[in-house]
């Protein structure tokens, strides 16, 4: 089997609270498939079902309801003025959502373009334990392996922050801090020569901003998320009160993240002494708005962070960097 053929049998899968992104290697570079990690149920009717089929909207029919999966659920939620449902919460399978496993399976199938081929390897991301907590993610990880196995994949897990390092820090021999700012969590990993030395998660990220801003403004969290992703620029001078509110909670999220970074690194034992300053790279949808990197760097530089940071970078593509890093991990094992 040639290297190219082997590469075609690897997938990097970013399993995030907000989005699921699949990365594949092609001859031209990398190829990505992305789906919103969400779904919506609408009452079953022949007319609706036919319309969805005609439009090519991914759905299944079950229990007298039509289940619309992935990115399209957002559009229909907007049309019906309702909230989408989420199979994951806070970085893990949503225990309050009985259909989470079934829905995840559908969404992964959509993101990866169908089930696994024979011998196809998936490296999927998992969250690190919260700061100060012992790892206890076996249920989530095991369930994801089960889901992927049922779809025909061979799978193994990789820490989400480490995937960011693998994607973005090749020029530093994969030494530095990778942070994935997603929907439910911010995942942090410090890697030294590709080896994870310290990793933890911070349970305040995009969903916190959406929910808090929604509660304060009376808008739906969905709308806040769309507004945040499409028209938001963190600069402290917002043209209207809603954007100002979003800015407030962004600031709070960043401050919490920086405080956790300080706590995590100050309390870490047995870290290697670094001969030079290391880079820090930010990734994920929550890090994507303009001005995020600048605000983060400003707050980080104002804090007493115990490790010398050479530069704070934003991933080349914050939405796909984690999946690309997971793919790098999968390919490096072939």
């Amino acid at each position: 089997m040639t290297d190219t053929t082997k590469s075609n049998l690897a997938i990097g899968l970013d399993v995030g609270t907000s989005r699921i992104v699949a990365a594949r290697k092609t001859e031209q570079g990398f190829e990505y498939g992305s789906q919103l990690n969400a779904f919506l149920t609408v009452p079953s009717s022949r007319v609706t079902e036919n319309a969805l089929k005609k439009e090519g909207v991914p759905h299944t029919v079950e229990d007298n309801a039509i289940w619309i999966h992935g990115t399209e659920s957002q559009r229909f939620a907007d049309l019906l003025n309702s909230e989408i449902r989420r199979p994951m919460r806070g970085g893990f399978l949503n225990s309050g959502e009985p259909a989470s496993v079934k829905v995840m399976s559908e969404i992964i199938r959509l993101a990866t373009g169908g089930g696994g081929k024979a011998g196809e390897n998936v490296c999927f991301t998992v969250a690190a334990p919260p700061l100060g907590a012992e790892p206890s993610l076996t249920w989530h990880e095991a369930t994801m392996k089960q889901v992927l196995g049922d779809l025909g994949f061979q799978s193994r897990a990789i820490n989400e922050g480490l995937a960011v390092v693998y994607s973005e820090l090749v020029d530093c021999n994969f030494t530095g801090i990778g942070i994935s700012c997603g929907g439910g969590l911010c995942n942090v990993c410090f890697a030294y020569l590709s080896v994870p030395m310290l990793s933890f998660s911070v349970p305040k990220a995009g969903d916190f901003i959406d929910a808090s801003a929604a509660a304060m403004s009376g808008e739906r969290a969905n709308r806040i998320r769309i507004l945040k992703e499409q028209a938001f620029h963190i600069n402290g001078r917002q043209p209207n009160q809603l954007l100002q509110v979003i800015d407030v909670y962004y600031d709070d999220m960043i401050r919490t993240l920086v405080a956790a970074l300080n706590e995590g690194f100050q309390n870490a034992k047995n870290l290697p002494q670094l001969p030079r300053a290391i880079p820090l790279v930010l990734s994920g949808g929550t890090a994507a708005p303009k001005g995020f990197r600048d605000r983060f760097e400003q707050i980080l530089r104002e804090s007493h962070f115990p490790i010398a940071i050479s530069d704070v970078r934003l991933a080349a593509d914050p939405l796909t960097a984690t999946a690309k890093g997971a793919l790098m991990a999968a390919l490096s094992e072939m």
Binding site: Y166, L193, S212, Q244, V245, V248, N270, Q273
Partner: protein
């Protein structure tokens, strides 16, 4: 240094050097994931990332030893992290906001004080008031009650006089001087502030620095450690001869007042080691215990030139009245302030919500609990303070 550790350090250097010579990112990662796996300083290896530990690294390190020994500088790659000392951090500019300028008293007589930064204070009309003494509460646990009594000031509250304003123009000199003269007499009689900065930028000492002034009334502020209630004794009151115009960007002072304010803040911070985050405006600290709302007074609710007077933008700081004492705010407060304090309100609400969630109670219930604790603490202050509750 033990020989085992020494060989580990060498291996790290070699692996780093070797990896940089592999151009293809994927091959570099492949190499590192095998070669560097044994470099983790902790003896406890765990998780899937460590499964390759063992012989590989030793083989590679040994193979590269000779080259590295001749070409690479030796580095202590695996020694524990050494955190920078405070001096090093300050040198790196990290703590610049926490450093104090070197300001000293140059000359002093009954009429005037002159400081090394150029500040001049007119002391001719300075008066005494009751000696400064105040209680502190634990900012992390206000329910612990009164912790101890202190005498040293901890911050500054900035005010506006809300007095009559005429256009600041040369032909108005006589009227401007007349208004300021009357104002000084008034605030002196009321023991209203420690310092007054008039529109020409002249700084007047009103109440002597060692005494309390009646400037803050019912008020709340907190720093990382302590909660302060009713700030007449614990904070200096610095007032600018100006009038509030509600909303963003309208209250203003003259350039001379800004300059004088900068020198005064610099001197007070240097002399009393006042943290920058304890230099805030009256609108940020003022509360009304009768209706449990913040912002009874709204002077400097917006547009205080924090940056111009050498301070960080303290408008962004959460309001302890909201998140530590359970006060609330209404639309009129938001309307009279502007987006800068809206930021602080949002952060305060988020902070209160977080603590409530950690305690597994509703935010509203936690707020009520904070309000009860606030009333209890105020009652304790009234009981134990000679002058009442310090208002």
């Amino acid at each position: 240094m033990g020989s085992a550790r020494k060989s580990g350090l060498l291996a790290a250097t070699v692996v780093d050097w070797r990896a940089k010579r592999i151009d293809d990112p994927l091959n570099r990662l492949r190499y590192l994931r095998v070669a560097a796996v044994d470099l983790k300083p902790s003896a406890a290896l765990r998780g899937g990332e460590w499964r390759y530990a063992g012989l590989a690294v030793l083989v590679i390190a040994a193979a590269c030893y000779a080259v590295a020994h001749l070409t690479m500088p030796r580095r202590s790659a695996l020694a524990p992290v050494r955190r920078p000392s405070p001096v090093e951090r300050a040198a790196a500019g990290v703590e610049s906001a926490g450093r104090f300028a070197d300001v000293w008293l140059v000359e002093q007589n009954a009429e005037r004080e002159e400081y090394s930064n150029g500040l001049q204070i007119d002391c001719r009309l300075a008066v005494s008031n009751r000696p400064r003494t105040y209680a502190v509460f634990d900012a992390a646990r206000p329910d612990r009650g009164l912790i101890e009594w202190r005498k040293d000031p901890v911050g500054i509250v900035f005010h506006t006089t809300e007095s009559l304003q005429v256009p600041f123009e040369p032909h108005q000199n006589r009227i401007l001087m007349h208004i300021t003269g009357g104002l000084i007499e008034y605030v002196r009689d009321k023991r209203a502030y420690h310092f007054l900065v008039d529109r020409f930028g002249r700084v007047h000492s009103i109440v002597r620095e060692g005494d309390a002034a009646n400037h803050a009334g019912h008020s709340v502020w907190a720093d990382d450690n302590w909660l302060y209630l009713n700030l007449n004794d614990s904070f200096f009151g610095v007032s600018f001869e100006a009038q509030t115009h509600h909303g963003e960007g309208s209250t203003s002072i003259t350039p001379a007042q800004t300059h004088a304010g900068t020198l005064l803040v610099e001197m007070l911070r240097a002399r009393y080691h006042l943290p920058a985050h304890n230099c805030v405006t009256h609108a940020q600290v003022s509360v009304n215990p009768d209706n449990m709302q913040i912002g009874y007074h709204t002077d400097w609710a917006a547009n205080f030139p924090f940056g111009d007077v050498g301070l960080p933008d303290n408008y962004a700081r959460p309001l302890p009245g909201l998140y530590l004492c359970g006060f609330v705010y209404d639309r009129s407060y938001v309307a009279s302030t502007g987006p800068r304090i809206l930021t602080a309100i949002g952060l305060s609400e988020a902070r209160l919500g977080e603590v409530a969630a950690r305690r597994h109670i509703e935010a509203a219930s936690y707020r009520e609990y904070l309000q009860r604790e606030y009333r209890k603490n105020i009652k304790a202050l009234k009981k134990e303070t000679p002058q009442g509750d310090g208002v």
